[in-house]
Symmetry: C2
DNA sequence: TTCATTTATGACCCACCGGTCATTTAAGGG
DNA sequence: CCCTTAAATGACCGGTGGGTCATAAATGAA
């Protein structure tokens, strides 16, 4: 009887290798040879599991953003604005930076396949909806000022936080600088959401 | 005596063509042949004015961001927070979107030359400093709440606004959607800076 | 018109890389 | 041990695109 392998496990292994290579050299610069070497396989083997380099990237993107979604979903729904702000910090781990930088390669006009932008755009749309769901009860509870639309505020917050990560990615800043900037941004944001400077205590 | 051309004018003409091609196809996908065709020249001619495709891109980036800097510098210093917010709108024209998308190509790890990231990063550093200079008097005037550091707030604002533009670029939204989101973000930001909801009138 | 010099050209070169496929290797049942 | 079948291999192919260079064209002074 024939040799049998776990196809799904093999795909995971290859995607791990691809992630490492793409982070190191970027999607365009990394070659299938690189990925194969990283995975301990021959180039031809990659094509038994992925139709093309592009399909491999799309699978990688899908897996990456599914993972983030899962992690963010696991954070309990905040009861107060403070808890919400803490949740934001948790959803922005420092290791997101390198990956963000990688995705630049794929968001430009040079990447013809619209599915890449759909995956990434879809994630942000989901994120905005997720925040909006958390905002609505906070607005009712008076934690967030009542003249804000939960949807509009959530979209604004999503854009702001993404901007923060992008900046980290561009500047390649150290962790401590990141944390300083992040906290300043979140403090400004918190005041904006609450509608006034936080009460003492 | 020899044929004479204005080297600088020729470089400008080539950069215009390169900008058009890079916007259309992206930096990686656009070929030197494309750029030459767009400029009405032969491929070899390009190399009389630029050492390589990469040098051409760097010159393009420099020119582009120098131009933005000049435009933003031309906006009069704001006397009130309202004026400041209006200045922000002016510095975010819609035609920035396509260009922003193009720069993704160049910020990823695939682009080895650090000068590209330096040019773009340098622009944002300048922008943050520029905003900080405008914040300081506004804080003294009580237009912005006094517990904020001008520098930290300016950096946060810079990241937030860039995030907004990036999102537009990723989603490829229409102008009206952009304006809605931009206004929501700026309103949130204004409240955060002022330290409370704006007084009526 | 001639000539020196600069500028422009595009055929050509060559390295590279995504993708293929004939061949080899590995697994395991009989 | 052999055979069947799945899996793995890597030499090879073909297209591509950045960059070169021998040649041609343009310019303007003499």
């Amino acid at each position: 009887m024939p040799k049998i392998v776990d196809r799904e496990e093999m795909r995971e292994r290859i995607l791990d290798a691809a992630m490492a290579c793409f982070l190191e050299r970027g999607y365009h610069a990394a070659t299938m040879q690189d990925v194969a070497g990283q995975a301990g396989l021959a180039k031809g083997t990659l094509y038994l599991y992925f139709q093309s380099k592009e399909e491999m990237l799309l699978a990688l993107l899908q897996r990456y953003f599914d993972d983030i979604r899962a992690r963010i979903s696991a954070i309990p729904a905040p009861q107060t604005l403070d808890q919400f702000m803490m949740g934001l910090r948790l959803s922005m781990p420092v290791d997101r930076l390198a990956a963000t930088r990688l995705f630049f390669d794929v968001l430009g006009p040079g990447f013809q396949d619209p599915r890449a932008a759909e995956i990434i755009g879809g994630f942000f749309a989901w994120l905005a909806d997720h925040y909006a769901d958390q905002f609505a009860p906070l607005i009712r509870a008076g934690e967030i000022r009542s003249d804000l639309s939960a949807q509009a505020a959530a979209q604004a917050v999503t854009a702001m936080l993404d901007g923060l990560v992008i900046h980290l990615a561009i500047f390649g800043v150290e962790e401590d600088v990141f944390e300083t900037r992040r906290d300043a941004t979140l403090a400004l944001l918190e005041t904006g959401l609450r509608g006034g400077v936080a009460p003492p205590g």
